[in-house]
Symmetry: C2
Subunit: 291 residues, 2 copies
């Protein structure tokens, strides 16, 4: 199970919604996606863990998605963090952080490791190109499949030796009293969940492909009805719903809501005409993603 926190669900300039930030947690590990200004406050205020983050991934270099990151990292330093922080994002992220630290006289007292993808806390994180006005990435978080012994079936064979169990779980065949036990017969796979975050994007094929059969798709849904949406590199709520439908996802979170919608319920009403299982991401709420 992966828990997804919508730390900030708006976009552009500050409003009653926070600037984009999504925190993904699994078994004590936590990864942040995007870090608009004010993200560190929200992580602290809502007890989501400021210093304990394992990794931060940024979708693109627009200020509303990244201007909170220098302050977040500087606060981690002030608060005594020592463990490595993994950082991923588009070209320019490393230079932006380097320049910010240089001019604000900050030298991180812990290692920053820049990565393109990551395996951490039983999750793999990888990126795909999304379709915005500048270079931008979406991210796929995939929980590892879990392989378990089918204990019922093994009991039928009369085998009780834990060493046999272990070998089977490692995928090896075992011979017990002249009988060959194959792992395929005694192992069951519990599929890990898949969460996809598009960042800012207009609807496009790459996103549809990356979101294929996701358990949760978090999609740009900046506007209800704005003729220029696509030329701004954004999506309407119904675009997000159409993508969700084409990708056969289980659930859709409408995200990056423009500040012009004080009441954003019309966005979700419109989206549901195309994909019923969708909801508005709200600050600061969470959603548990189960297989």
């Amino acid at each position: 199970m992966i828990r997804v926190y919508f730390v900030g669900s708006g976009g552009g300039s500050p409003s009653f919604r926070g600037l984009p930030a999504i925190l993904v947690k699994r078994e004590g590990w936590s990864v942040l996606f995007d870090c608009g200004e004010g993200t560190q406050w929200r992580l602290m205020k809502y007890g989501l863990g400021l210093t304990s983050l394992d990794a931060v991934f940024v979708t693109h270099m627009h200020g509303d998605h990244v201007l909170g990151l220098p302050g977040l990292i500087e606060s981690m330093g002030l608060l005594g963090r020592e463990k490595k922080l993994y950082v991923g994002g588009p070209r320019g992220l490393r230079e932006f952080l380097t320049e910010s630290f240089k001019w604000t006289r900050f030298n991180p007292p812990f290692p920053l490791e820049f990565v393109d993808s990551l395996e951490v806390g039983g999750m793999s994180i990888s990126s795909f190109p999304s379709c915005h006005t500048i270079d931008s990435l979406g991210y796929v978080v995939k929980e590892k499949d879990r392989v378990n012994l089918n204990v019922e079936r093994l009991r039928e064979t009369g085998v009780k030796d834990w060493r046999v169990f272990r070998l089977l779980k490692e995928g090896k065949s075992v011979e017990v009293k002249g009988v060959k036990l194959d792992p395929e017969t005694y192992l069951t796979t519990r599929r890990g969940v898949k969460v996809v975050y598009t960042g800012d994007t207009m609807p496009c094929e790459q996103v549809i492909r990356a979101a294929e059969e996701a358990d949760l798709l978090i999609h740009d849904s900046t506007f209800l009805d704005e003729k220029e949406a696509h030329s701004f590199g954004h999506s309407l709520a119904r675009d997000a719903a159409t993508t969700a439908s084409k990708s056969h996802v289980k659930a859709l979170a409408l995200f990056h809501i423009s500040a012009r919608y004080r009441d954003a319920s019309p966005l979700v009403q419109d989206a549901r005409r195309f994909f019923p299982h969708c909801f508005l991401a709200e600050d600061v709420s969470f959603y548990d993603v189960r297989a």
Copy 2:
């Protein structure tokens, strides 16, 4: 009269107090001093005017004082600002903003003019070196003195001609029916108020001199009792009070309170032993400075 808003009165990393930001308003003009992360939210949330700022001055380049500035300026741009923004601060500020804008693909749609001092809205703003661990500035905001005609005294002379009034107000002598009227005799000066903000500083002579006879001194008061305060480039509350006393100021605001003081009242109690007319700057409060 100058109104001073304490937008954020803390320092370092985020806490229940906002990061440093002080808004000074006079007759519709407004100038911001320091801009910690989250300042733009507070300006918006409390209706203090995000796009209407005339100038921003930064005391020094530590992140808690400046990391909110790129986002503030980017939001001004998104919200359609066109008028010039004056910006002042220590070396590195211009480069920091340039790099932040470059990497976040932002091109300000309004002019930024970098200045060392400024006259705006009947106030003059100038800087002085304060005493921190890196290059740092304090600021003096001085309301212009107001020169008025002493109407009572003029009436006694029988003069009613407004052209005579105007010449006297311009500081010129006028001869009326053979009698010479000198401006010194018929003008009164109402002293403008003086507000001094130290930024981060340990107690030092430069600050004492700059604060001389200020109507309000806003002084670093990071700690109550921390042996390392001065080597950290900060002041104790009682240092601020001692400076206030030496500078013969009218009132002292204790500012830049460390997050370690959930209850900061001991700081003000201790400071009052040395300078009675002092108070804790609280977010988001204001103080009217009158002569």
